[in-house]
């Protein structure tokens, strides 16, 4: 009970900042629109590639863009902790008898919430642009779930890196280094049968691809429960592992003081 309460307090802190800063709010809400429209325009021709059978371009791209945006948003989660470290807030939190896991879990829950909001926006916008959600409401919920799970994993990773590196520059470096390769080594923007074999092989181990496959299958295609179940399972394991890593990073940070 107490760990949950404490985590919720940390989540509330994030939500307050979100609601009180109009610029931040506006950016969070317009980002999905820009991504969908830009990527949509850029990749419109993807359906004309011989061998492509993903349906309309918007059906194909929507899950990919949702997952990309989830990873990108989650990556910056650790910034808040770096602010806390430099501002003195972190030391105050760490001398309190608060569960270290709550400091991570609360932040991660906030990041996941933001991703859910952005995902819902993209889903609705894509619908307006003519997307056809074959999987129905259930399928869309699975898509939102995988985006949130993947986001939670990356938010934890970001928090862990932040606590270990403590430098904005290091976190920016890590996010930029990871984001694009993970996106391009997946089927987010290109159909699996059309990417080179070595990418297909690497994509099997890429969490971004797990989320794309599960989300696309559930929301846009005839749902493949075996595929969705296994990918969701993998994402759950990844999220827990990253959460453990981040919680340990708090202890590691304290040991270095």
């Amino acid at each position: 009970m107490t760990p949950l309460r404490q985590s919720w307090q940390v989540t509330m802190r994030g939500i307050r900042v979100f609601l009180r800063n109009p610029a931040y709010l506006a950016m969070t809400l317009t980002q999905p629109i820009i991504w969908l429209l830009l990527f949509g325009a850029l990749f419109k021709a993807v359906i004309r590639i011989p061998g492509f059978h993903g349906g309309s371009y918007i059906d194909f791209l929507t899950p990919g863009i949702i997952v990309m945006l989830a990873v990108s948003s989650a990556g910056w989660t650790g910034m808040g902790l770096i602010e806390d470290i430099h501002g003195g807030v972190m030391d105050r939190l760490l001398v309190a008898p608060v569960w270290r896991g709550a400091l991570n879990a609360g932040n991660v829950a906030y990041a996941a919430l933001m991703i859910v909001i952005q995902t819902v926006l993209i889903v609705l916008l894509a619908l307006a642009l003519g997307a056809n959600y074959t999987g129905g409401v259930g399928g869309v919920l699975v898509l939102i779930l995988v985006a949130a799970l993947l986001g939670a994993a990356f938010a934890s990773l970001s928090n862990g890196v932040a606590m270990l590196a403590r430098q904005r520059e290091a976190l920016i470096g890590a996010v930029t280094m990871v984001l694009l390769p993970l996106t391009f080594l997946s089927t987010a923007l290109m159909q699996e049968s059309l990417v080179p074999g070595w990418i297909r092989t690497l994509a099997k181990f890429n969490p971004v691809n797990w989320a794309v496959e599960a989300g696309r299958s559930a929301a846009m295609q005839k749902i493949d429960w075996g595929l969705v179940g296994s990918r969701v399972g993998l994402l759950v394991v990844l999220t827990l592992a990253c959460g453990t890593f981040a919680t340990r990073a708090f202890t590691k940070y304290q040991q270095s003081l």
Binding site: T2, Q9, R13, G88, V89, D91, V95, A96, Q255, L257
Partner: protein, 324 residues
């Protein structure tokens, strides 16, 4: 005597080779204000970090409120309040929200929390600003909020790490009043670190002067000053003739403990007024010109000079140690 804080032979080194604590030992009686005095980098903040369970020493042991900080850090955290050097409050949240979050982390909830937060805002003069974001607070208000947060769970031991650093003189004086009131009204032990000699002299009933990670002397401010016996004479030389001047003064029987720093000579005398003519005569005889001579009752600065072997101001500006 019940001890609220007991530290034995604490050692801590930061990589690559900065020795922050070098065998520091302390005993603080329950219910007192204890001043930890020293220049930046002397090890004050590291001491607070170790005693408040934020960091672990490489060796040594410590008990706070009777609890071993290494064996039972979580129990220690419940018993202590910490007001750090930096502001610990969240600038994006209001004063009230900061206090509520703090209370939740200490397991205070519901109506009890609400009442304590309201009383605390009232007490620290923040009731009107309670629902404003902390980033709009003045430095003095932020500091009061920091202290309110450190006290919300009614700790038995309160650590105040340089509580008046960065405050303007007016806010500093009102903070002093607040700290005195705390010690008077609540039966709390306060460990106060400061590099303001005046602050330590005014607030602390017991003092430890630390330098380079160890306690160099300990006692009441009065006792430390009395131990010096006599007045401090400070001579500013007109030219760089320190060595000659020193030789000259060593022959003057009225004074002792001559210390030279650049162009400044310091000495102690049982009766400073009577010693000055002899001092001036001796300097004159060696052809040394004095720019000025000052006479002062012993201050903590003199105590510091005597035990740490260097003047406080000088130690303050030495860049050899990190101010971590």
């Amino acid at each position: 005597m019940e001890l609220a804080i007991e530290a034995r032979d604490l050692r801590k080194t930061y990589p690559p080779d900065v020795t922050a604590l070098d065998g520091l030992s302390l005993s603080v009686a329950a219910g007192t204000i204890f001043g930890l005095l020293g220049p930046n980098g002397a090890g004050k903040s590291t001491t607070v970090r170790v005693l408040s369970t934020l960091s672990r020493p490489d060796s040594g042991s410590a008990r706070v409120a009777g609890i071993d900080v290494l064996a039972a850090p979580v129990r220690v955290r419940h018993a202590i309040g910490v007001v750090g050097q930096k502001h610990g409050s969240d600038p994006e949240a209001t004063g009230r929200e900061n206090l509520v979050l703090q209370g939740e982390f200490y397991g205070i909830t519901g109506r009890e929390l609400k009442q304590r937060v309201a009383a605390s805002l009232e007490r620290f003069g923040l009731a009107d600003a309670a629902d404003r974001r902390v980033k709009t607070y003045s430095g003095g208000m932020q500091r009061r909020l920091d202290i309110a947060m450190g006290l919300l769970h009614r700790p038995r031991v309160l650590f105040l790490d340089e509580p008046t650093t960065g405050l303007d003189p007016e806010a500093r004086v009102s903070m002093w009043r607040e700290i005195e009131r705390l010690a008077g009204e609540e039966l709390m032990t306060i460990l106060l670190t400061t590099h303001h000699l005046e602050e330590a002299d005014k607030l602390a009933s017991q003092l430890a002067i630390i330098d380079r990670g160890r306690v160099v002397v300990e006692g009441t401010p009065e006792r430390l000053k009395n131990d010096l016996k006599g007045d401090a004479i400070q001579i500013e030389l007109a030219d760089r003739q320190g060595a000659v001047a020193r030789v000259a003064l060593e022959r003057v029987t009225e004074i002792g403990e001559i210390k030279l720093e650049g162009r400044t000579l310091r000495a102690r005398a049982q009766d400073g007024g009577a010693a000055i003519p002899a001092v001036l005569a001796a300097l004159d005889a060696h052809g040394v010109r004095a720019a000025s001579v000052t006479l002062a009752r012993p201050s903590l600065d003199d105590v510091y000079l005597r035990y740490a072997g260097r003047a406080f101001q000088q130690a303050q500006t030495e860049p050899e140690e990190v101010a971590a």
